[in-house]
Amino acid sequence: MQCQRRHLLALAVAAPALSGCASLAALGPPPPWLAGLPERVELAAVPFVEQARFHCGPAALAMVAGAAGVEVSADALADWAFLPAREGALQVEMLAAARRQGLLAVVLPGELRALLVELAAGHPVVVLQNLGLAISPRWHYAVAIGYDAAARELLLRSGAEPRQRMAWFTFERTWARGGRWAFAALPPGRLPATAREPEAVQAAIGFERVASPAQVLHAWTAVHARWPDNLPAAIGLANAQVGQGRLAEAAQVLAQAAAQHDSAAAWHNLAQVHLRRGERDAAADAARRALAAADRGGADARWRDAALAVLREATR
């Protein structure tokens, strides 16, 4: 995962040449998949952080963090997302480092349209590119900050360049060689426009391991609001509410999820919340439902012991 300036320079020479060709050729009408998107977007407020040698990952993180209102230097981030031996940052560490800054890092769908939608929504996007070839990779993290649909160009803060213009054609190739990996890092109350359910839930799960309870509550509230039918999101939201002492709200969320999914875990947690509120009859009732759901077998069977324990507690 190393990012080398030498190759950035090579690309900086190549990119304008390519875009020059493109602007001479008749580009024709915009492709249909662009429908509904603005003609051009530039998130000028995203700060530019020039990368130190090999530190494209921390620099990219510092830029999106700054855009989200978190002031942090690339040097400080390098402690979290830089492996000296590999001369670069691993993808999972990029996500983890963003979380440690209190930002919900969500992996985005690997489609150019998703990037453009995200930019149009005002969210800068960290992209992983392979500026070399598959056989001799030159990994590089950059931040997409805008696009120009007429010129078919993406705007990037990349390496030493505060405003790199790269043809979509070139970008797509460098991005595809990096596995079409991209993420947005936003304050936990907001979700990327194009986030998909599994990635958003995973992001919140990662977030709750490191973030403050209040922030975790924000994150789960946002995920649960967008995907109210997702069981882990309901569980996560209710747990965050319990952590903040909001037991009545947690009971409501759990009761709804338990009824909808007939999930042993949700019934169990509901019984626990009832117990904490001193509602022993309701707790015993929920615990029995948990046990019944666990006894049906399948994925819920693993909560059987927990269900038994809470039932004993409630009927003692």
Partner: protein, 132 residues
């Protein structure tokens, strides 16, 4: 200075370890991560059920008996699989090319595992006696 550095590094490592052990759910409550993990992994019993369901298919039963494996024996084999092994076999079937010859894959896996067991290369079916 080196001592200070080492102390700082040790402190950071301890903090990191501590953070990684953080249990996100309040005490006594099942966490979202556990629920998501339970949903993601096909469970043991469901893997067994899926294998048995494959054996219920008439064409699978027939293909097995054509190869000298009685359907009842095949059921016993599934019952004899450990949870982990049942998951492995179920995954083999899941990974068979979509729209491809699933029947062939199922039969192939059962017959292959039986043969490799007899040869002593694998120990999927505990009741087979290796020839060496």
């Amino acid at each position: 200075m080196p001592l200070l550095r080492r102390l700082t590094a040790g402190f950071a490592a301890a903090a990191l370890l501590n953070a990684s052990l953080v249990h996100a759910a309040p005490p006594g409550l099942i966490g979202a991560e556990q629920v998501a993990a339970a949903q993601a992994a096909p469970t043991v019993s469901s893997a067994h059920e899926r294998l048995l369901a494959q054996l219920d298919r008439a064409e699978v039963a027939q293909a097995l008996s054509e190869r000298g494996v009685a359907p009842e024996l095949a059921r016993e084999r599934v019952a004899a699989l450990t949870d982990e092994e049942a998951l492995q076999v179920a995954r083999h079937i899941d990974e068979a090319p979509a729209g491809g010859d699933v029947l062939g894959t199922v039969v192939f896996i059962f017959v292959l595992l039986l043969v490799t067991d007899i040869l002593g290369l694998t120990r999927i079916f505990p009741f087979t006696r290796p020839i060496r």
